[in-house]
């Protein structure tokens, strides 16, 4: 676009004029406004707090509507107001749960630490299962006790132990117990005491 000298002056004059008017108080202020309500259109999922045994009801709010191409991510959690015990309340730990989910210390991949090593090595799930099953089988085959000194059938395996969780679901706990007992493990406990 060709700008003639005259046009140029006009533009400049207009610019100066408007800025002067602005200086005299004709500018429009940004409208005062509250923050956007951040939960609009987010997806709600009911859950239970994983900390103490009050087991407060939670409503988790996630980004994405669960469409195929949207990867859900939870960005806010608050108490479930319908829950008879917590009635929408959450304690300081519960109110901070979203930071637990997104903790930088969450583990992301199976890892292996060799004897004497100073570091973790990332491995695949298949390698991890293979390694663990092999270690178990070797130990079990070597140390399984079918009968005790008195000749009674005891079918126990005492050289590997299993410490179960305190916050895994009943379903996880059930299948864990089922598998552990099938191997004959007796050194078995959970976190009921601590």
């Amino acid at each position: 676009m060709q700008v003639t000298r005259r046009q140029f002056f006009k533009v400049c004059a207009a610019g100066i004029g408007t800025s002067s008017i602005a200086a005299l108080g004709f500018s429009t202020d940004a409208l005062a406004d509250v923050r956007e309500f951040k939960l609009t259109r987010s997806t709600e999922t009911r859950n239970t707090c994983p900390y103490c045994s009050v087991s407060c009801g939670l409503v988790m709010y996630s980004m994405g509507d669960k469409a195929k191409n949207a990867e859900s991510s939870i960005f806010h959690i608050e108490g479930d107001p319908d829950h008879p015990v917590n009635r929408g309340t959450l304690c300081p730990k519960g109110a901070a749960l979203v930071d637990f989910i997104h903790s930088p210390d969450r583990l992301r991949h199976p890892e292996y630490r060799a004897p004497g090593s100073r570091e973790w090595k990332r491995i695949s799930w298949d390698e991890a299962f293979e390694k663990v099953a092999r270690l178990m089988k070797d130990d079990r085959d070597k140390n399984f006790m079918a009968k005790n000194g008195e000749g009674a059938t005891v079918n126990r395996w005492l050289t590997t132990g299993f410490l179960a969780a305190s916050a895994s679901s009943n379903e996880s706990g059930y299948i864990t117990h089922k598998v552990v007992r099938s191997t004959g493990i007796l050194v078995f406990d959970n976190q009921a005491r601590v």
Partner: protein
């Protein structure tokens, strides 16, 4: 001719530069400060790039003002020592304002009014700087108890208002007294002007000639 050597040298180039630097900074400080003084003036922030920039710049204008005004202060301090004649001058100031200078004692380089103004400026500046530091939120306010900040806010606003009033007076006096502005613009004044407004200084400069 503006620089007619027959005219009397009233202000050196450095003095003039210092004055006008101070004047410019004063306007920056005053306009930016006024924008926070009352909502009526808030649009002045547009001159400085908006409210946030105005808030950032204003205290630095104050610092610049301190340096520039400080220069003036030390330059002119000696010449502004108030003498008994100045006091006499000040007693007759009403007559002066009425345009009747018959009873006015002879003024030196600066008359009593100018000297008083000088010291009032200095006092206001001191108050503005001290209170300004206390209310400079970004760097200093957290060092002071909130009550001190509150007092400083009042002092700063009051000193600023007085300062602006004095400057208005100063400017008007310069306009009212014809040719005064030339003195500060070009440095030299006509001898007639000096004889009229600052007779004692005139004598001093001309070695008693007439």
């Amino acid at each position: 001719m503006k620089n007619d050597p027959k005219k009397l040298l009233r202000f050196t180039p450095m003095e003039r530069a210092n004055h006008w630097l101070t004047a410019i900074i004063f306007f920056l400080a005053a306009l930016s400060g006024l924008s926070f003084f009352h909502p009526f003036f808030f649009p002045l922030t547009q001159l400085f790039g908006g409210g946030v920039w105005t808030r950032i710049l204003h205290p630095f204008f104050g610092v610049a003002m301190l340096l520039s005004f400080g220069g003036m202060f030390f330059r002119f301090k000696q010449q502004n020592v108030i003498t008994p004649a100045d006091r006499e001058w000040l007693r007759h100031v009403r007559e002066m304002a009425g345009g009747d200078d018959r009873n006015m004692p002879e003024a030196g380089k600066f008359n009593g009014g100018q000297k008083l103004l000088f010291w009032l400026f200095a006092a206001c500046m001191a108050l503005l700087i001290l209170s300004g530091i206390v209310i400079w939120r970004a760097y200093f306010s957290f060092l002071f108890p909130v009550e001190a900040v509150r007092v400083a806010s009042v002092v700063h606003a009051a000193a600023a208002a007085v300062m602006i009033a004095l400057i208005i007076f100063h400017i008007y006096a310069a306009i009212w007294t014809r040719e005064s502005i030339d003195a500060m613009l070009y440095g030299r004044v006509r001898r007639a002007w000096a004889r009229q407004h600052h007779p004692a200084w005139f004598r001093q400069m001309t070695g008693g000639e007439k």
